[in-house]
């Protein structure tokens, strides 16, 4: 029977080996390696608030990292949910206050200094008028051109109401029958005659019946019933607008007010849910569109022309005890349409609610029902309207607007009676608006 060896093990792994092992690393410094742990971040898939936050953060980073604008827009509009559809021309009462709340817009009566009727019409002999404060270019519009414009406008009115023999239109188609062709005529003729004074108009694109749409989120609500009860959801809005015509330009217009300047007026706050307006929810494609696709060179807006529908004409409102709503509805139309247009322009340049604007976007609009014209200017200063991004955001969007003014009194015996020059001058001012460097 072999006795187990009681010799210590260390005799065999002798000191020589021990020494050998020691000598190998003896001359250098002991290698100190920091323990490399992965970063401690919350899970992606757990059912916890931190996991939800992490998923949201990952989504925002994904949108920020998207290189192409089309990819960004696709990521932001991919998910479809129920959203409130905002109609710029609406039958609801006091819609302008609600729309101002949804778009964080301040309304200032009157027009900004640049566009007001300070531009004088002088003869060629007297020389140029000194430029007004605000950097308006000193283009002189001489009497001949102005009278030419007057005759163009007068002819346009007479063409539709006097020269052409037209059938009596069917119910609620008067605007389409009489006013829409006059407006197209007016816009195209005035734009082409003013093109020699405004080189921007030569490069512009005039669209008829374009589609303008915008999708945004503002505010939050707790879901009251259903399997998602108790969860907090943002309130989504969508505008699908069809102005009568619009002018798109390749260069951006100059801002009316600097971005950081604060306006004293307040944005009206409405504490009710949008469905009390009443506004209704639907779920369909989330569209963001300025009238042309992203790759179009004319990606900035200049002026939109809106035609008031038959349902919202002055006569009908006054008959229905809503005489004060006439101006309210024009304002609501302008605010909603211009916010959608400028917002879509900004998104085409890659800005969105978490990457706010670095420069303001400016557009103009003219709302008319054939006889009464009102002029509006809009400056978009911020797209950060969600609850998360709006907390420390002092910027507000600004809308300037006029009351409605008559272009002409009536058409009598082949003559336009009472053509108002101020309205024409304002229209000319609007169309001659261009960035200073041009």
């Amino acid at each position: 029977m072999a006795a187990p060896s009681r010799l210590p093990l260390l005799q065999f792994c002798s000191t020589r080996v021990f020494l050998l092992r020691c000598t190998q690393g003896f001359h250098g410094e002991p290698v100190v390696r920091e323990p490399a742990y992965p970063p401690v971040i919350p899970s992606r898939t757990a059912k916890s608030k931190s996991a939800k936050k992490r998923r949201e953060e990952d989504y925002y980073n994904q949108v920020r990292a998207a290189s192409l604008v089309q990819d960004k827009l696709r990521l932001l509009t991919r998910l479809q949910r129920k959203k409130y559809v905002v109609y710029p021309q609406t039958f609801t009462l006091n819609a302008d206050r609600w729309y101002q709340h949804f778009t964080k817009t301040v309304f200032l009566p009157g027009l900004p200094g640049k566009c007001s009727v300070g531009r004088q019409v002088v003869d060629k002999e007297n020389g140029k008028v000194p430029s007004a404060a605000g950097g308006v270019d000193p283009t002189v519009l001489d009497e001949n051109t102005f009278s030419e414009l007057r005759s163009l406008v007068g002819n346009g009115i007479l063409q539709e109401n006097f020269y052409l023999k037209k059938r009596r239109p069917f119910l609620q188609k008067e605007q389409e029958h009489f006013v829409a062709p006059f407006l197209s005529n007016l816009v195209s003729s005035v734009t082409s005659s003013l093109a020699k004074y405004n080189p921007l108009l030569k490069m512009s694109s005039l669209d008829f019946n374009p589609e303008v749409s915008f999708y945004w989120m503002r505010g939050e609500r707790t879901v009251p019933r259903g399997h998602r009860r108790g969860r907090v959801d943002p309130i989504r809005f969508q505008i699908n607008d069809q102005p009568h015509c619009q002018i798109r330009v390749p260069e951006q217009l100059e801002e009316f007010l600097p971005l950081q300047e604060s306006v004293s007026a307040e944005v009206p706050v409405v504490h009710f849910e949008p469905n009390r307006l009443p506004m209704f929810q639907r779920q369909y494609d989330n569209n963001i569109f300025i009238g042309s696709k992203v790759t179009d060179p004319c990606s900035y807006g200049h002026t939109q022309f809106h035609l008031v529908h038959d349902r919202f004409k002055r006569g009908r409102l006054i008959k229905g005890n809503l005489a004060d709503q006439v101006e309210v509805r024009l304002r609501a139309n302008a605010i909603a349409s211009l916010f959608a247009w400028t917002g879509a322009q900004a998104m085409y340049q890659g800005f969105w609610s978490h990457e706010d604007l670095t420069r303001p976007f400016v557009s103009q609009a003219v709302v008319t029902d054939g006889q009464y014209f009102s002029f509006f200017c809009y400056q978009l200063n911020t797209l950060a309207l969600t609850v998360q991004t709006d907390q420390d955001n002092p910027r507000k969007n600004i809308c300037w607007g006029t009351e409605s003014m008559r272009l002409y009194e009536q058409v009598k015996d082949g003559e336009v009676v009472g053509l108002n020059d101020d309205v024409l001058k304002l229209l000319v001012n609007f169309l001659l608006n261009k960035p200073q460097k041009m």
């Binding site: 039958f91 009462l93 006091n94 009710f272 009390r276 229905g320 005890n321 809503l322 004060d324 709503q325």
Partner: protein
């Protein structure tokens, strides 16, 4: 059309639909009534809520308020509230709670309307020194004594020292 004395009830006969050529419909002394109610959910300040009979339409409401009460009306919206047919009585027969129509009327020119508080909250301030006040105080002290020690953090006192 003046209401005939024979058929006094307006909505037993057919609703007087208008066709081109009919004489102007005139109704004197209506047979239907509107009830002003307090809104269940918060409404904007220019909205007034009514309960109306099922046969009334938006135009009827507008004319009713304008002609009889001289209240100019901006917009009217209506809806029908369906009430349950599920309840059963002691004979196990289904009992229908009647449906009703609700109208939301928006007033013109920024006028507002607030439904008044019919049952105002009374502040139950007991007189100091009265019997009720001493009883109330005693009950409160008793409840305070029955409560567990908050320092135990909800742990029961069945075990322990």
């Amino acid at each position: 059309m003046v209401i005939d004395l024979k058929c006094a009830c307006l909505y037993l006969s057919r609703y007087p639909l208008y066709q081109l050529g009919n004489p102007q419909l005139r109704i004197f002394r209506t047979n239907f009534f509107m009830t002003l109610v307090k809104p269940g959910k918060e409404q904007p300040p220019d909205t007034v809520q009514f309960r109306i009979p099922m046969e009334m339409t938006k135009c009827d409401i507008k004319n009713y308020l304008e002609k009889i009460y001289s209240v100019p009306v901006g917009a009217v919206r209506t809806r029908i509230q369906y009430c349950t047919n599920k309840k059963r009585n002691h004979l196990n027969q289904r009992v229908k709670r009647p449906d009703y129509k609700v109208a939301y009327v928006q007033l013109v020119q920024q006028q507002t309307f607030q439904f008044p508080e019919i049952f105002p909250q009374k502040d139950t301030a007991l007189e100091p020194g009265s019997v009720e006040e001493m009883q109330d105080q005693f009950m409160q002290d008793e409840q305070q004594r029955q409560k567990a020690d908050p320092r135990r953090g909800g742990v029961t006192e069945w075990f322990g020292l």
